[in-house]
């Protein structure tokens, strides 16, 4: 048992993890559930899969966790996979846990980094609410590792590979979880996860009307306005997609402004990957200053207009 089985409900993420697995020289295979199977096989081969396991059945269309994890358990046995590598999307991390329990093996979710050293797969993930980075290994014979999306870059192999497509018949039954409705979230065209500059507001902003001042500042620095949880979820001044936090979006801009943001741990854990953090807060003891590169102690209603004025010159 030495192979790696790669799965995600989002095929482009499977390409990323296949690229990584095959770069290590491990025999890699990919699992595809549902009708999209055949159309992605070629791409999977080009990214290092030696085999593509396809399972198609109406019971898989809803991607319920019980069904998906049972299917992956079956394919992992078939493929004699030592490692199941999953993309740690919300669905993926959930499937990882249930699959690991079916296999009775260890699991790591939300791996921000993953490397192999002397046959050991070492994953790095945030711990203690984001205060620390924990390096972990799994000592079970088989392992389930869920890696954050976009940890690796998908790169096709220089020379094309032709592998096998293996159809696996499903044994899973219909999920007892019935899907009533799937409502896409509105696409606002703004994605704070990919923004280079983030202007994040917190409870220090006193009125919704003051958003115009923040937006003016964001426009000048080429940034996108984001917010902490109270602004989106309690005051509803900005849509939830703009919320930065451990239960919201994690961001990695080159420049982050925290304006009137106290800097609680659930907030800062989502900002760890920012290159430069600037804090603006009138409370010198606000925790954000300990997590900032540069801090301006002062009333945001004086600091922001001053910044706007100086930057507009």
């Amino acid at each position: 048992m030495s192979g790696v089985l790669v799965y995600s409900e989002q095929p482009p993420l499977t390409l990323q993890n296949l690229t990584f697995a095959s770069s290590l020289g491990y025999p890699a295979a990919a699992a595809v559930l549902g009708p999209q199977g055949e159309s992605w096989s070629e791409q999977y081969f080009n990214h290092g899969a030696q085999r593509v396991y396809c399972m198609d059945d109406p019971s898989l269309s809803g991607l319920q966790t019980d069904i998906v994890s049972e299917a992956l358990c079956q394919i992992a046995d078939h493929a004699e996979a030592e490692i199941v590598l999953i993309s740690s999307t919300l669905r993926g991390r959930e499937v990882a846990g249930r699959l690991a329990q079916k296999l009775h093996v260890g699991c790591i979710t939300d791996a921000a980094k993953l490397r192999a050293e002397e046959g050991q797969w070492i994953a790095t993930r945030y711990s203690l609410g984001g205060k620390t980075l924990s390096e972990q290994v799994l000592n079970s014979g088989r392992k389930v590792i869920a890696v954050n999306p976009n940890t690796f870059q998908a790169e096709p192999l220089a020379s094309g590979v032709k592998g096998d497509v293996v159809e696996v018949a499903p044994r899973a039954a219909v999920s007892p979880v019935r899907i009533i409705e799937q409502k896409p979230k509105p696409d606002t065209g703004i994605n704070i996860e990919s923004a280079e500059v983030i202007v994040c507001i917190g409870r220090g902003l006193e009125s919704e009307d003051d958003l115009s001042m923040i937006q003016e500042f964001a426009d000048i620095v080429g940034g996108v306005v984001a917010c902490t949880r109270p602004i989106s979820h309690d005051r509803h001044w900005l849509p939830e997609e703009r919320m930065v936090g451990i239960s919201g979006k994690k961001i990695s801009p080159s420049l982050y402004f925290g304006i009137g943001v106290s800097g609680q741990i659930q907030q800062m854990a989502a900002v760890l990957d920012a290159k430069v953090i600037v804090a603006i807060n009138n409370d010198r003891n606000a925790p954000i200053f300990q997590n900032a590169d540069y801090g301006i102690v002062g009333d945001l209603y004086q600091v922001i207009p001053d910044l706007i004025e100086k930057l507009s010159r």
């Binding site: 966790t65 919300l90 991390r93 959930e94 990882a96 846990g97 249930r98 690991a100 329990q101 009775h104 093996v105 260890g106 699991c107 790591i108 979710t109 939300d110 945030y126 711990s127 203690l128 205060k131 620390t132 980075l133 924990s134 390096e135 972990q136 290994v137 000592n139 007892p176 979880v177 899907i179 009533i180 799937q182 409502k183 979230k185 620095v221 080429g222 979820h233 939830e240 239960s247 080159s254 420049l255 659930q266 760890l272 953090i277 600037v278 010198r284 200053f289 300990q290 900032a292 590169d293 801090g295 301006i296 102690v297 002062g298 004086q302 600091v303 001053d306 910044l307 100086k310 930057l311």
Partner: protein, 263 residues
């Protein structure tokens, strides 16, 4: 209807200091509390209890002897009783060990219609326990619920996924994990805090659930931590605390040197 809420006792993360020389977190002496996400799960259970007849809420937790005190908050918020498993061996359990212990506790409690958890724990946020627990107990699972209602022996929930809101229904018994969006947990009034001590609190050991330390404790953990350190590259922490005009000037100068301001 019987609802079991699984809660985790976690360190008060804001109070963890980092040793400047070694980057190690200082965990000794840090107070403990109940996890944030689990408070949303408990709040939801109590709301269901308040809106329907004949609902009992049992809170379950596994951890150090400090749980005897920590769990009082859950009883004050509105759980009818608590079962805590206190055993020195479970401190080193990994997600699989914790899930097995919780499953054994819930099986011993018996007759449970709905199991509620947070979507992850405040400290590690691995989200494995809900999935593992559902698998061990052979229950359907509904995770990331931001809305949850009980209808005549089934539940309807709205799951909050990256790109969609997914409404699902499932017959009970079932396991549900909730997000922070589902509610605003209440702060218990003083009278409730005083009454919490009078509610039933059952303290069990591994023996009580026929589990052994070899099976679920430190030695059974297959997830091994090699290191756990604060990121090596600390923030610069250059704080300008003068009059606004010169603080802003200094900050702008610094950002220009960083090359991150593209005007």
């Amino acid at each position: 209807m019987h609802i079991v809420v699984c809660m985790k006792q976690v360190l008060d993360l804001e109070k963890i200091r980092i040793k400047p020389d070694t980057h190690e977190p200082v965990l000794e002496g840090v107070p403990v509390c109940l996890g944030d996400f689990e408070k949303n799960a408990l709040e939801q259970a109590v709301r269901i209890k308040e809106s329907l007849d004949d609902v009992t809420v049992t809170v379950v937790s596994v951890g150090s002897p400090k749980l005897n005190k920590t769990i009082m908050e859950a009883l004050a918020i509105g759980a009818d009783e608590a079962v805590i498993l206190v055993d020195p061996h479970v401190n080193g359990s990994d997600a699989m060990g914790s899930a097995i212990v919780l499953a054994n506790v819930i099986q011993k409690i018996g007759d449970c219609d709905l199991i509620l958890l947070g979507e992850g724990s405040t400290d590690e946020y691995s989200g494995q326990v809900p999935s593992r627990l559902a698998e061990i107990l052979d229950l359907p699972q509904v995770t990331y619920a931001r809305e949850l209602e009980v209808l005549d022996h089934r539940i309807r929930a709205v799951r909050d996924l990256e790109d969609m809101l997914e409404s699902v229904e499932v017959e009970l018994p079932a396991l549900v994990s909730v997000t922070q969006e589902i509610n605003q947990p209440r702060l218990p009034p003083l009278t409730a805090i005083l009454k919490a001590g009078k509610k039933p609190l059952h303290v069990w050991s591994l023996e009580d659930i026929n589990a052994s330390a070899e099976e679920v404790g430190t030695d059974a953990a297959v997830c091994e931590e090699l290191s756990n350190l604060a990121p090596a590259k600390p923030r610069k922490e250059m704080i300008f605390d003068e009059d606004i005009d010169s603080s802003v000037n200094q900050a702008l100068e610094a950002l220009e040197q960083e090359g991150v301001l593209d005007l």
